[in-house]
């Protein structure tokens, strides 16, 4: 279970509070107006944004003392999820060993992960030689190998067209099924949430509320969300 206990994030002229919990294995969309703090919330969970007070707990232990890589979190950012000078296989292998010194068995696992996301045979390409959708798949193959219990997506597929994005979301859902990961997905597109997230966190007015049942929330949105949805 992921718990925010009296969490407060403060940056210059910006405050965000959260006091709630998300069940293990849940698939949660994170929505709200621009600048409300959706990415900041994910940044705090993954260790990139300092917390002013309160706690973030996972399975009863605090995440705050941990460095980003020690947290039980895989995060995909809006961009820069791959190193452009490394091959596809190397980019994925970083999820197993940051030193890139892989055993034969580990190398085979990298190959399996790439096959799982449909990128067989592209091991030696570099990111620039791939399409946007393929790049997303490489990042997801690494998520698969890291197998962290929390998967945080900060709009990594925002630049993709609708069909490709739907494809990626299906893959994300499958990966969550296979690894049992808890999904937190920031998005601007309510359709994304409806597609794979049964619960939703609403970030607005300096506070995080929820989790709400997605269907009920969208059927009868509170004023802050209504203003955003238009």
């Amino acid at each position: 279970m992921l718990r925010f206990e009296g969490l407060e994030i403060a940056q210059s002229g910006f405050r965000l509070r959260a006091d709630l919990e998300v069940a293990r294995g849940a698939r949660v969309g994170v929505i709200g107006p621009s600048g409300a703090g959706k990415s900041t919330l994910l940044g705090a969970i993954s260790g990139f944004v300092p917390v002013k007070s309160g706690q973030i707990m996972w399975e009863g232990a605090s995440l705050l003392p941990l460095t980003p890589s020690a947290r039980p979190v895989s995060i995909l950012f809006q961009d820069n999820n791959l190193f452009p000078h490394l091959t596809v296989a190397e980019n994925v292998a970083l999820g197993l060993r940051p030193s890139l010194r892989l055993s034969a068995g580990e190398r085979a696992r990298v190959g399996d992960a790439l096959a799982r996301v449909g990128l067989e045979g592209l091991e030696d390409r570099r990111p620039a030689q791939l399409s946007g959708g393929q790049q997303g798949r490489v990042a997801l193959a690494r998520v698969l190998l890291r197998a962290r219990p929390i998967l945080a997506l900060d709009e990594p597929f925002a630049a993709l067209g609708p069909a490709l994005k739907a494809e990626m979301l299906t893959l994300v859902a499958e990966i969550c099924d296979e690894t049992g990961a808890t999904l937190l997905m920031v998005t601007h597109d309510v359709g994304d949430v409806e597609a794979i997230a049964d619960q939703t966190l609403l970030v607005a007015g300096g506070a995080v509320s929820g989790p709400h049942a997605t269907q009920a929330l969208l059927a009868d949105p509170p004023p802050s969300l209504r203003a955003y949805l238009g």
């Binding site: 993954s46 260790g47 990139f48 460095t67 980003p68 890589s69 020690a70 979190v73 895989s74 995060i75 950012f77 820069n80 999820n81 791959l82 190193f83 452009p84 000078h85 490394l86 190397e90 970083l94 999820g95 940051p98 030193s99 890139l100 570099r126 620039a128 030689q129």
Partner: protein, 519 residues
């Protein structure tokens, strides 16, 4: 390695480098002052040296930039075959060994050079290249290309759309200049003048060869003479303090005016302009500049290339020594720069900026002052002459550090900004991060910085003159003694060898940096 340990490592390594820079730039000065045992009074000749230093630096900086403005403008707006090559060659004087440039200028403007031959054939008495105008000529030869590159980049920053807009509004050429080009110049020119002024303040080899005598001695040259010929440490120390004061004042000024970057960076394609008249004026300017810059080098190569295979063995030995010094200096510079750059970013904020400032300090340091200081520090422990090459290597590494730092720090900053979070999220820290992420991403600036350092060090004639005897000479020093001995054929051959070695070192390193084109 944990992130905290990695951070501590960066700070520790940066601290060591910072300490070394303090010793090099300030400790050496202290040692000189301490050793001086009471300052002997400065003679009027010393004040003349100060006056001459300032005068020649002002003339050199002013003329270089003044001439660079129309030249850069012409280059910025004209397309012609060989434009790219010419601009690339404009970067070459920076890595051109000073003595080679001097020899080239002598071949054109010297007593029996091209110009005097021409004048003689029409019965005009010969002009002399020695003295103030010779020193200024050599400095302009050196710095006109640098100034041109700085300003050319300035022209490149004016968006093409703005010229289009100006054309559609029917701007006159004067309005075009006033509204578009003048604001850019006002921003860049002070910095360009200061950079060149600073470079010329510490000029040693040019003054040594084209200046000298009571009327054309720089402070740097006076330090050398007090140290080497009079062995008057008190005077050398006073002069060193004076020189330090001059440089520090200029550097403080430069600190307030943001210094432009004239190295590296793509010189963009010419901006399409709509206010071009007939091109003869621009064309004449470009041709004159090319003639001025290329003839001396062409003369040297033409005179010396046949002599290279028959150079005496001691020249080849000194070349080998110089090569080792250059490679050592390159390695030391790169390690110091990486350590310092990581520490600057790890500290961040004002403290990071202060550390960065310390890294740029050698720009204002005089290598003769530093050399004198190191000599004094070594004297109680060992015979300084035995360490001539090591000291030269370390001083060269320090001299190149500001340039390397300016090339590498922005690159590192960008790597951290774009890929730092991803590396953190994946637990890439310490050496693994350096090997897998940082070094591959920095390959280009690293290669360029390595090339600059190697070439600068290969061609440097400075601190070695304080330490070495003839048998331990580097190639530039050997070249200088050939020039003194009027062995002109050997000197020309050695100059071609030196030029070739410097350019080759630069080319190899830079080429390595450009290796992975697909990134």
């Amino acid at each position: 390695m944990s992130p905290r340990a990695a951070r501590l490592c960066a700070l520790g390594a940066g601290g060591v480098v910072a300490l070394w820079l303090l010793v090099l730039n300030f400790g050496a000065l202290g040692a000189v002052a301490w050793r001086a045992e009471g300052f002997s009074g400065l003679r009027s000749a010393d004040w003349a040296a100060v006056r001459f230093t300032l005068t020649q630096a002002l003339w050199s900086a002013g003329l270089s930039v003044l001439l660079a403005i129309p030249l850069a403008r012409a280059l910025a707006r004209r397309t012609f075959p060989g434009r790219g090559l010419l601009i690339t060659l404009m970067g070459a004087p920076f890595i051109l060994p000073t003595l080679v440039a001097v020899l080239g200028l002598l071949a054109v403007f010297g007593r029996s050079g091209l110009v005097n031959q021409g004048l003689g054939s029409v019965g005009v008495s010969p002009i002399s290249i020695y003295g103030l105008h010779g020193v200024v000529l050599a400095h302009v030869f050196y710095n006109l290309p640098l100034a041109t590159r700085i300003l050319l980049q300035g022209w490149g920053t004016i968006p093409a759309e703005r010229f289009r807009l100006a054309a559609s509004l029917g701007f006159s050429p004067w309005q075009m200049f006033r509204q578009l080009e003048w604001p850019m110049l006002r921003e860049l020119v002070p910095g360009a003048v200061l950079v060149i002024f600073l470079i010329c303040l510490t000029s040693f080899a040019v003054a040594l060869t084209l200046g000298g005598g009571p009327r054309a001695t720089t402070v740097e040259l006076a330090i050398y003479q007090a140290f080497r010929f009079d062995y008057d440490m008190g005077r050398a120390a006073m002069l060193a303090l004076l020189q330090f004061g001059l440089c520090a004042a200029a550097a403080l000024l430069a600190w307030r005016v943001a210094l432009p970057a004239g190295l590296g960076g793509g010189m963009d394609r010419p901006v399409q302009r709509f206010d071009l008249g007939r091109g003869w004026l621009d064309g004449a300017l470009i041709a004159l500049a090319a003639l001025f810059l290329l003839t001396p080098l062409g003369m040297i190569v033409a005179r010396g290339i046949a002599q290279v295979p028959v150079l005496p063995p001691e020249v080849w030995h000194s070349a080998l020594r110089s090569l080792m010094v250059a490679l050592g200096a390159t390695a030391v510079t790169l390690v110091m720069t990486l350590a310092l750059a990581h520490a600057v970013l790890a500290l961040g904020g004002a403290r990071g900026a202060a550390l960065e400032g310390l890294g740029l300090a050698p720009l204002a340091a005089s290598s003769l002052v530093v050399g004198t200081g190191l000599f004094v520090l070594l004297l109680p422990v060992t015979s300084p002459r035995d360490w001539a090459l090591v000291v030269t290597m370390l001083v060269n590494a320090g001299m190149a550090l500001p340039f390397a730092l300016r090339l590498i720090l922005p690159g590192l900053r960008e790597v951290q900004a774009t890929q730092g979070r991803l590396a953190d999220a994946l637990g890439l820290h310490g050496l693994a991060r350096l090997r897998i992420v940082t070094l591959p991403r920095l390959r280009r600036p690293l290669g360029f910085a390595a090339g600059l350092t190697a070439a600068l060090s290969m061609g440097d004639l400075g601190v070695i003159m304080l330490f070495a005897e003839r048998e331990g000479a580097t190639l530039p020093m050997q070249l200088y003694s050939l020039m003194l001995a009027y062995r002109q054929a050997d000197a020309a051959g050695a100059a071609v060898l030196l030029l070739g070695a410097s350019l080759f070192l630069f080319w190899v390193c830079d080429r390595w940096g450009r290796g992975r084109a697909e990134v």
